[in-house]
C-alpha cells in the first residue's frame, strides 16, 4: 500500500481536518462568516471520509488481534461524525457537524494512551449480535451526545431570550431554538429505537453467553436506567408533544448517565463490559 494511503497517514490527516473544522468553526462563529463555517463543515466531511478509510483498513487489519478501548473510542468518534453529518443534511445547519468533529478529535485524544493495550475479544463474546449491539448503541450514543450539546445551548439561549438579556455577537449565528429542539427530536425518535435494539441485542447476547439475560452487571443497571429515561422522553415527545426545556433537560440527564456508564463502568468497575482493559 502506498504510504499516503496507510491507516496511520489517513488518521493523521483526519485529525488535522477535524482540528481545522474546529478552528474554522470557531473563527466563523466569532467573525460571523458563513463561508468560513461552510469551510469548517467541508473539512469535517473530508475528515470523516478519511476516518472511514482509516478505520476500515486499520480495523480490518487488527480485528484478528482484538480491539483496545482506544479503538472503541475511535469507533465512537466515527459514529459521532456520522451522526453530525446526518444532522447536517437533515437540519441544513453546520453547527452539529462542526461540534461532532471537535468531539471526535477529543475522543481521538483520549484514545491515544489506550491504543496499545490490544486485548483479544474473548471467544465467548464473538457472536452475530455483537456488531449490532455495538453499532446500534454507538450510533444512539453519538446522537445523544449531539442532542446533549444542542440541549445545553438551547437551555442557555432560551434562558437569555426569556430573561431579555440579549445575545452575545459570537453566538448570534448559532442555530435557532427550533433547530436545537429538532436535534433533540431526531436524537429521540431515531436514537431511542437504536438504543433499544442495542439493549435487546445485549440481553440476547448475555443469555447466550452467560445463560441468563439479566446478570446484574453494573453496565446493565445503568443502561436500563438510561433506557427508562429515554423511553420517558420518547413517549412524551411523541404522545404529549414535549418541546423545548423539558426534553433538553432530560437529554442532558441521559447524556450524563451514558457518560458515567461509558467512563466509570468501563474504566473503573468490574463488569462484563470492562474486558477491553483486562
Amino acid at each position: 500500500m502506498h504510504p499516503l494511503l496507510s491507516p496511520e497517514t489517513s488518521t493523521l490527516l483526519t485529525l488535522a481536518l477535524y482540528a481545522a473544522a474546529g478552528l474554522c468553526g470557531l473563527a466563523g462563529m466569532i467573525a460571523r462568516s458563513r463561508p468560513v463555517r461552510s469551510a469548517a463543515a467541508a473539512a469535517a466531511v473530508v475528515g470523516f471520509a478519511l476516518q472511514t478509510f482509516a478505520l476500515a483498513t486499520g480495523f480490518h487489519a487488527s480485528t484478528s488481534g482484538g480491539l483496545s478501548i482506544g479503538a472503541y473510542l475511535q469507533m465512537l468518534a466515527w459514529f459521532l461524525v456520522l451522526a453530525g453529518t446526518m444532522l447536517r443534511i437533515f437540519m441544513k445547519h453546520n453547527a452539529p457537524l462542526i461540534f461532532a468533529a471537535v468531539a471526535a478529535l477529543m475522543l481521538y485524544g483520549f484514545s491515544a494512551p489506550a491504543l496499545e493495550a490490544v486485548v483479544k475479544v474473548p471467544e465467548t463474546l464473538k457472536a452475530p449480535f455483537y456488531a449490532l449491539h455495538i453499532g446500534a448503541l454507538f450510533l444512539s450514543l453519538a446522537l445523544i451526545g449531539l442532542a446533549f450539546a444542542a440541549g445545553a445551548v438551547f437551555l442557555y439561549l432560551d434562558g437569555r431570550i426569556k430573561a431579555k438579556l440579549g445575545l452575545p455577537a459570537f453566538i448570534a449565528d448559532m442555530p435557532a431554538l427550533n433547530i436545537l429542539d429538532r436535534i433533540n427530536a431526531v436524537a429521540t425518535v431515531v436514537g431511542f429505537p437504536l438504543y433499544s435494539v442495542g439493549m435487546v441485542c445485549g440481553l440476547f447476547y448475555a443469555g447466550a453467553v452467560y445463560g441468563r439475560t439479566v446478570t446484574g452487571d453494573p453496565k446493565e443497571i445503568i443502561s436500563f436506567a438510561t433506557w427508562v429515561l429515554y423511553a420517558v422522553l420518547f413517549h412524551n415527545r411523541l404522545a404529549r408533544g414535549w418541546y423545548g426545556r423539558k426534553p433538553a433537560r432530560l437529554m442532558v440527564l441521559i447524556f450524563i448517565l451514558c457518560a458515567v456508564s461509558f467512563v466509570v463502568v468501563n474504566l473503573f468497575m468490574t463488569s462484563h463490559h470492562s474486558f477491553a482493559r483486562t
Partner: protein, 474 residues
Amino acid sequence: MDCDIVLVGLNHRTAAVDVRERFALVKHTDPDTWALPLGGAIHESLILSTCNRVELLAMGTGDVAEQMLRHWAMARGAKVEDLKPYTYSYVNDEAVRHLFSVASSLDSMILGEPQILGQLKQAYRKASACRATGVILNHLLHKAFSVAKRVRTETAVASSAVSISYAAVELAKRIFGTMQGHRAMLIGAGEMAELAATHLIKNGVDEIVVANRTLAKAEKLAEFYRGRAVPFEDLARHLASVDIVITSTGSQEPIIRARDIRSVLKARRNRPMFFIDIAVPRDVDPDVNGLDNVYLYDIDDLKEVVEENLSGRREEASKARQIVDEEVAAFAGWVGRLDVQPTIKELIHRSRLAEEEEVARTMRRLGRTDDATREALEAMAQGLMKKFLHEPLSYLKEGDRAEHSRRILAIQNIFNLDRHCASRFNAYEDREEALRRARAEAGAKASRSCPAAAGNGEGKLCSAGMDGLAGQEG
C-alpha cells in the same frame, strides 16, 4: 499646479431638517437641469443628496470649495452666506476619510444603516453616466465601495437590528430559525405593529391573521397583507394556529393572560409562541413569559434590545474607523504614485530617444552591417539604459507623498526634464483631454435645452448631463 480632492456638505449633525430641505439637491438629479459646472476650477464632480445629507465632491484646482458653495447656493436660490454656516469642508485625505466613513455608514444618523451605500452608488452611477467623474473620482468611489464592503465584512457595525420592528423580527428568527412555515397574528393596529408585520412578510412568514374589534378594519388590513381577518371574539381559538402574535390595541386591560395561553399551548402541542406587545398599556399579561416555550417582549424590552445593539455597533465603529484610516493611507499612496508617473514617463521617453539616436549613429559609423549586429547593438543600448535608469526610477518611487515633490524636482533638475510633467495627474492628460472633448460636445447639446448651461460663461464647460445625485437616505 496641484489638484485637490474637495468635499463640501451638510448633514443631520450640522443642519436641522428645515435647512436640509432648503439646500437639498434632490431635484437636480436630472442632468438637464443643473449640476456642478466642470472646467475651470472643477475637473470632476459628484453630488450626493439624501434626506440626511447633501455632499458635493469634486476634484479640481484653485478655490474649489468656494466655487462649489457658490454653485450650490445659486442652484437653491440662496446666498453663500446663508448656506456656509451649516456646511463643512474637507480637502484631500480628510475628504477621502469622510467619503469612506459616509460609504461605510459610520457618519449616518443610524450607525451602520445599509441605505447610504446604495445611495452613494446611485449618485456615482449618474455622475459617471454623465462623464462628470474622471480617473481620480472613479478610483476614489470604487475604493469607497470596497471600503464599505470591508467594513461590513470585518466588523459587526451593521449586524444587529436597530429599529423596534426589525428587532422583533430578529428575535423571532432566534426562536423559529426561519419565518417560512410560520404564521403571525396582528391584534389591533398601529404604525409600529404594522411595520413589524411588514418585516415578517418580507422575511417569508406564511400568513398574517388580523384580529380587530372592528371586523371591517381587520378585513381591510388583512387585504393589505393578503392575509385573513378573524373576529376579535374568536381570538383564543385562532391563537392556537399562529406562532407570532403582535398586539397593539388601545385596551386598558390585558387581553391575553397566562391561563388562556396554557390551553392554547396544549392545543398546539407546546410549539413555541412569540408575543410582541407594542401596546401601552400592555395587551399581554407579563406572566405569559413565565410559561415554557412562550416568549414575550413588550415595547420597553424591544427598546432595550435596540439600545444594546446600538451600543454594540458603536463599539464596532472604532474597528471600522481603523479600516477607514488604513484605506485612506492606501489611497494617498495611490495618489502619491500618480505624482511621480509623469516624471517616470518622461525619463523613460528621454532614454528611449537617446538610445535610438546612439544606435543609429553607431550603425552609420559601422557602414553596412547585418541584422544580427543591429539587434545586438539595440539590445546592448537597451540593457545599458535599463541599468542606468534603475536607480533614478527606484529613487522616484520610494518615499511617502511629501517626499515625492522633492524627489521629482531633483530628478527633473538632474535630467533637465520638462517641468510641466510635474503637475499631478498629467500622466492622464491624453485621456482627460478626450473626456473634455466629449463633455464639450455634451455641453453643446445640453445648452440647447438647459438655460443655466447656456449662461455658463468664461469658457467653462456646462455640466448638463454631468451631475450625480442620489435618492433618499433613511
